[in-house]
């Protein structure tokens, strides 16, 4: 991990006004929705209104978009790598910087939501839901950040957003085609198990990549420990970082690449 790379990443974000505005909106949106709910529904005053942990993915997207690609585009990566720092360390540092910052924002957002609930109803302050939600957000940030780092290493500038959109489009197309094939098989009385199994496997892969969620509270149940999601989560992080390093080590960097 390189401290200078992390700090540069955070400073670069701070300098971008569009991102700052979007970050503020991301903070405020759930608060506004829940405040409206509190105003219109009296029983909502005593509810712990917390937004879903998936909000963490949006924070990560905001922090990670073009985090490596922009440095490749304007040539600063060549300057960074002129220092005694390996590409692997650079990728790890970028990943940590993005994930840490996104986690901090996501946890801060849920903390604000929780505090507003607790002001109305102090008994809610010690609910474990808030803690679980926060830890799930942190895990989501680190998982999603790894995948976004990989996308950013593949292309220059902000083209990784287009890659992400393409990835989502392929997923939707495959899901639609899989569902159609499955229903056609069922309608024609064919054994659709193989088609269903393959379609579900593909769906799991896509969902595991886009939304690396670990239902943390399930692990507290004691006798039930399903490690499937932990394995896929670790796979996503290691494979994404490994691929990002592999891609970057094979690239030639020059000033103002694009």
């Amino acid at each position: 991990m390189n401290r200078a790379v992390c700090i540069t990443t955070w400073r670069e974000f701070k300098a971008n006004k569009v991102r700052i505005i979007m970050l503020t909106l991301l903070f405020l949106a759930p608060l506004v929705v829940f405040t409206m709910r509190r105003c219109t529904s009296p029983e909502a005053l005593n509810e712990d209104l917390l937004s879903h942990p998936c909000m963490a993915s949006l924070f990560t997207l905001l922090w990670a978009a073009g985090v490596i690609g922009r440095e490749v585009q304007n040539g600063t990566i060549a300057l960074v790598l002129a220092r005694p720092i390996s590409i692997a360390t650079y990728v790890y540092s970028k990943w940590f910087a993005v994930a840490f910052a996104a986690s901090l924002c996501a946890v801060e957002a849920v903390f604000c939501e929780h505090i507003i609930s607790a002001v109305n109803s102090p008994a809610l302050l010690w609910q474990t839901e808030f803690l679980t939600n926060s830890v799930e957000r942190v895990l989501l940030c680190f998982g999603t950040a790894a995948f976004l780092i990989l996308l950013s290493s593949l292309v220059s500038g902000l083209k990784d957003l287009a890659l992400l959109a393409g990835f989502g489009f392929i997923f939707m197309t495959l899901a639609t085609v899989g569902s159609m094939v499955h229903h056609l098989c069922a309608a024609a009385n064919f054994d659709a198990e193989l088609a269903r199994g393959l379609a579900k496997s593909v769906e799991h892969i896509f969902v595991g990549i886009i939304y690396p969620y670990i239902p943390l509270s399930v692990f507290f149940s004691g006798d039930l420990f399903a490690v499937g999601s932990l394995i896929s989560y670790s796979t996503l992080i290691t494979c994404s970082l490994a691929l990002a390093i592999k891609v970057l080590t094979r690239k030639e960097f020059s000033y103002a690449a694009d």
Binding site: E47, S51, A186, S201, V218, G228, I231, C239, L241
Partner: protein, 372 residues
């Protein structure tokens, strides 16, 4: 000259590559294993598997036992891959307090849907429950009183008891604004934005938020349908009136069930609506005959009325009078407009259809109004 200790820029982290490769193989195995060898991979992937402190019954066993022991059935509907199902199963249903309440007060039946939204390929218990209208898109709990075992989810959620409905001001009912009141019971752990909802102690619990909310639900759901349904503002005469000879006023016999959407709608829409109850009280001799679900001995005494008027489905309205050649029967609840026509016909002998569209598709009706 000693070699430099710093790594080169294009240093390859072999340990990371090795870990990534190994995890990829393992992950692939788990993923495909889950689809094609689910039994072997259940403990690895399936959050809904594993031991449980709750004594689960199969659907058939549970329904028989509920009727035998007069306990409500608690259907726990879980969906594979659904986050709330995982949390409900892993956290809520493994809570010792929740498990103790369930084992003591309910007959628990767990039904696991393989995938949400795939309605066409359901089989077995999932198919039966889906036909009954159970939600299969997310984890949910549904408490069904033993008398209502086998009825649809809509019937279970419906009520015509004003306290259960949460009606504080009956003025709206008198104006006929009942619709949506008696079926608006979808509440539970989570809202559409994932926010946590407070418990309301009704029949259904959708989603899962935390243990306390689940326990609150379990402690109050047994009370659902324990209060008698409303009889409205009609001045009902005692059942003995049926034994007496007919008078100048025609006699209106309302045959209704104590549970079910159609009967609940009739109670709220007809017996509470001012225009109807005033007309009934003024022009008819009204007698209410209630059929109780699960009480065969009680219903057998009243069966002769159904046989007499050829009523096969409840609710029904029967009018007999000295001036009428034969009793008139309205099968099912045909809503306010249909009932208005029926009562008018019974009083004047004229056939009146004020709104043919409503008569064909009466709101809240399950059966078309039929005149003999």
């Amino acid at each position: 000259m000693p070699p430099t200790k710093s790594k080169s820029t294009r240093y390859q982290p072999k340990a990371l590559y090795f870990c990534a490769g190994a995890l990829l193989v393992l992950s692939g195995l788990c993923n495909f294993g889950e689809q094609f060898a689910a039994n072997y991979f259940a403990q690895v992937n399936d959050y809904l598997a594993g031991t449980s402190p709750i004594k689960w019954r199969t659907r058939q066993q549970g329904e028989l036992e509920a009727v035998e022991k007069h306990k409500p059935v608690l259907y726990v509907v879980l969906v594979k891959g659904d986050v709330y199902s995982m949390r409900l199963s892993g956290e809520g249903l493994h809570d010792s307090n929740a498990a103790a309440i369930i084992n003591k007060n309910y007959i628990p039946v767990k039904v696991v849907f393989n995938e949400a939204g795939n309605y066409k390929t359901l089989t077995g218990d999932c198919k039966i429950l889906q036909d009954r209208g159970f939600n299969m898109s997310s984890g949910s709990l549904i408490t069904v009183p033993w008398q209502m075992v086998g009825m649809s989810c809509q019937d279970v959620l419906s009520t015509s008891n004003l306290a259960e409905m949460g009606v504080e001001d009956s003025a709206k009912l008198e104006q006929g604004q009942f619709y949506g009141y008696n079926q608006n019971y979808y509440h539970g752990g989570r809202g559409q934005f994932g926010e946590i909802h407070g418990p309301t102690g009704r029949a259904i619990f959708n989603g899962y938020a935390n243990r306390q909310q689940l326990i609150d639900y379990l402690q109050t759901a047994t009370l659902w349908h324990q209060l008698p349904p409303t009889k409205g503002k009609v001045a009902w005469l005692p059942a003995e009136t049926l034994q007496k000879p007919l008078t100048e006023k025609p006699r209106l016999i309302a045959l209704v069930e104590n549970y079910g959407t159609a009967s609940d709608s009739m109670r709220l829409d007809i017996f509470w609506r001012k225009t109807h109850y005033e007309r009934i009280n003024q022009s008819f001799e009204p007698v209410l005959v209630e059929f109780h679900h699960g009480d065969r001995a009680y219903n057998e005494r009243l069966q002769y009325l159904k046989d007499k008027y050829g009523v096969t489905c409840l609710p029904a309205l029967v009018v007999e009078g000295a001036k009428l050649k034969a009793p008139m029967v309205q099968y099912g609840n045909s809503g306010s407009s249909g009932t208005d026509d029926f009562l008018h016909s019974a009083l004047t002998g004229e056939q009146k259809i004020s709104n043919p569209q409503l008569d064909r598709y009466p709101h809240g009706a399950h059966y078309r109004a039929h005149h003999h």
